[in-house]
Amino acid sequence: MIPLIDAFKCNGCGVCVKRCPPQVIGLVSDRAAIVEMLCEECGICAEVCPIDAVIFRLPDYEPHGVHECYRATR
């Protein structure tokens, strides 16, 4: 599970950049960006982010096979 940066939320404070153990987070256009191929999936970025802009959580429930939009009648 590689963390996802919520780019709409990230304010570019750089805490995750400093704290990432393998040093694979940088800032791109003032937003944090992870070099995914080197990510060790440790979740420290999510832990240290002061505004919870790193999404690192298991799915709440089993994803449904059929998306809502296919069911909608319009």
Binding site: M1, P21, P22, Q23, V24, M37, L38, E40, E41, C42, G43, I44, E47, F56, R57, L58, P59, D60, Y61, E62
Partner: protein
């Protein structure tokens, strides 16, 4: 009969669990994975992982613990599976079915995490309000008698669902700080009612659970219970070993079929499962349980190789060899031992990365097996890599763990692989690290495994072959990878090239003479390793200097505290928050946080400020850089790089 079965006849003799028979004496012990959904339903990933464990050849496979209460007070891990409602039965059934499919006995574990539970809540529950010592956990609330009685009933209902899901046996977890152990230990149980006080009182809650389950499941259904043999809480009012024995006797008397004995709590101040504990160290506890309780006993805890379990089973000490981390690292451990090819086993090096991940609400990871959690994805090659369509010629520079990991996988896919190594041996920094004290020689198991894997797959390793830039340019290959590792950076500080400055790698390989008074420049795990190595050798006056607030921030939390403790005990001076200015013939000149100049006088300065080895670079488009040569990291990053590189082609 397979060759390993002759060598370890007792491990591979049929085992008995009540009236059930198992094909051998290896039991995969329960492990949380965090693979499941947050609502407690079983994920396919978990089923695939359990399938791997069953296919690996263990005679008995235990699921991860399932929490029994709807309020999720017992839930200690975000991805823990639930068993508090019948709606979970179909998911659990998938696990039972897949274990049965591979002729293994399936066991489901019921677990209420108690004091270390309530992961999604802002409190935990326990027998009494005893403040937490570990910052991760939330403060406990005292359970009422009604709540306790309800909790007993929830466990009984859990056992009923376990049978309905098709499991062959049920296991109850009462170890390391989970609810049952909280009731057992006088450290956390300060009640004065029927569930506390005397020895019998503290045993009452677990006893009722066992008795309740026994009544529900009938006479023949096996019940296993995991209990501590020694809590190792002697400094904070835990049970004595004798008290523990008596309590276990009461609990087991209520209808337990087999006891799985463990040691220590998460809050214990002693090492239990780290490398500094010799393998088989805790066997005496199983012995005492077996002798006094006259009940089948099984045990995990620092038993990674079959020799000790073989002896213990032959002596009648244990009935089953439980294995947890060793089988996370390689589920095929039983098969590989049976076929007498132990060199093929991916060896657990007790790095405890798995634990660190769980405590950060991340999915289980394994440093030595990156395919963990990807067993169902063919590109991860857990069941073997598919042959590559296009065969390539791959050249790798550096036979450290990254290079060998990548080389082995590429060769297994059918590529033509050559690995060049400048040293006369493989293993690189890992081989160097294995010279360290207190069990670090176990790293050589990993190095040897990777070497054998390369050899068997047909990757050629050429040692004593130093590659220069000219040769690199002349290599004709489809893909070239530089895995040249890390070296101390002599250019980072003025005076780094002086005669009194040596590399930490040379020190640990015993290649240089050093003075009696040494100063280690470095702030990460490497610096601590060198210090520990010198302490172990004896006769040195050691100091460490670096700019960080604490040393070893990159070291696993379950190791760093004991390393720092050992440094302190041995009188190693730690100059934290010191900026290094210059290295001179006298020693290291640094500045403390108030900008005062400090001279650390020493005979030899040991550089441990590891940086990527840039001795070899290339602009050729087919050259890749990986491992520490790219970014200096821990061993898990190095192996992951090698693995991902191998997966690419």
């Amino acid at each position: 009969m397979r060759p390993g079965e002759k060598k370890y006849p007792h491990v591979f003799s049929p085992g008995k669990l009540g009236k059930l028979e198992t094909k051998n004496r290896i039991k995969y012990a329960s492990t949380e994975t965090n693979f499941n959904y947050r609502d407690g339903f079983v994920a396919d990933k978990e089923v695939a992982y359990m399938e791997a464990q069953a296919r690996g050849g263990a005679g008995m496979v235990t699921t991860q613990g399932a929490y029994t209460d709807p309020g999720a007070e017992g839930k200690g891990y975000v991805g823990m599976m639930g068993i508090w409602d019948d709606k979970y039965i179909p998911g659990l059934k998938k696990i039972a079915d897949v274990i049965r499919k591979y002729d293994s006995v399936s066991v489901l574990q019921l677990m209420h995490c108690g004091r270390v539970g309530g992961v999604e809540l802002d409190y935990t529950v326990g027998p009494s309000v005893v403040p937490q010592r570990l910052p991760r956990f939330r403060e406990p609330r005292e359970m009422t008698v009604e709540q306790i009685e309800q909790c007993v009933d929830e466990h009984v209902q859990g056992a009923r669902r376990c049978i309905e899901a098709g499991f062959d046996a049920v296991e109850i977890s009462g170890i390391v700080g989970y609810l049952l152990s909280n009731f057992i230990s006088p450290y956390t149980n300060q009640r004065t009612d029927q569930f506390g006080g005397s020895l019998e009182g503290r045993a009452e809650f677990p006893r009722r659970i066992v008795a309740g389950i026994r009544k529900e499941v009938g006479e023949d259904y096996p019940i296993i219970i995991r209990l501590c043999g020694d809590e190792l809480l002697h400094d904070r009012g835990g049970n004595t070993v004798d008290d523990t024995l008596e309590i276990n006797r009461i609990i087991c008397g209520a209808g337990v079929t087999m006891l799985s004995v463990t040691v220590g709590w998460q809050e214990s101040p002693d090492s239990v499962i780290s490398r500094d504990i010799p393998q088989g160290h805790w066997m005496y506890i199983a012995e005492s349980m077996k002798k006094n309780l006259e009940l089948p006993v099984c045990m995990a805890y620092r038993l990674f190789q079959p020799e000790q379990p073989e002896k213990a089973i032959a002596d009648g000490t244990i009935e089953f060899w439980e294995s947890c981390r060793a089988m996370i690292a390689d589920p095929y451990l039983p098969t590989k031992i049976a076929e007498d090819r132990q060199e093929d086993i991916i060896p657990c090096v007790a790095c405890n990365l798995c634990l660190a991940r769980l405590f950060r609400d991340a999915e289980l990871n394994c440093a030595v097996r990156p395919s963990l959690g990807h067993e169902s994805e063919p590109e991860y090659g857990f069941y073997g890599f598919a042959e590559a369509e296009e065969k390539k010629k791959v050249v790798i520079v550096g036979a450290g763990i990254t290079g060998m990991q990548a080389g082995a996988i590429c060769a297994e896919k059918g590529h033509d692989v050559t690995i060049y190594e400048k040293d006369d041996h493989v293993g690189g920094q890992t081989a160097t690290a294995s010279n360290g004290p207190w069990g670090d020689e176990e790293f050589m198991r990993l190095v040897n495994h990777l070497k054998v894997r390369c050899e068997k797959a047909g990757a050629v390793i050429e040692t004593n072959k130093e590659i220069d830039a000219e040769f690199l340019e002349s290599i004709e290959a489809d893909e070239i990878a530089l895995a040249t590792g890390a070296v101390p950076d002599r250019d980072q500080f003025a005076g780094g090239h002086g005669d009194n400055v040596v590399s930490c790698l040379d020190v640990m390989n015993d290649r240089v003479e050093i003075g009696k008074k040494v100063c280690i420049v470095g702030w990460k795990g490497v610096a601590i390793s060198v210090a520990l190595y010198l302490i172990d050798k004896g006769g040195y006056d050691v100091s460490i200097v670096g700019p960080t607030k604490k040393f070893g921030l990159d070291v696993n939390p379950s190791y760093i505290w004991r390393y720092i403790k050992k440094l302190k005990q041995s009188g190693v001076e730690q100059y934290t928050l010191h900026t290094i200015k210059e290295i001179t013939a006298e020693g290291v000149l640094a500045e403390d946080k108030e900008k005062n100049g400090v001279t650390i006088a020493c005979d030899t300065v040991i550089l441990a400020n590891m940086a990527p080895n840039k001795a070899l670079t290339s602009k050729k488009p087919n050259v890749a850089v990986m491992g520490d040569a790219l970014i200096t990291r821990r061993g898990n990053g190095a192996l992951l790089d090698g693995y991902r590189y191998g997966m690419k082609w």
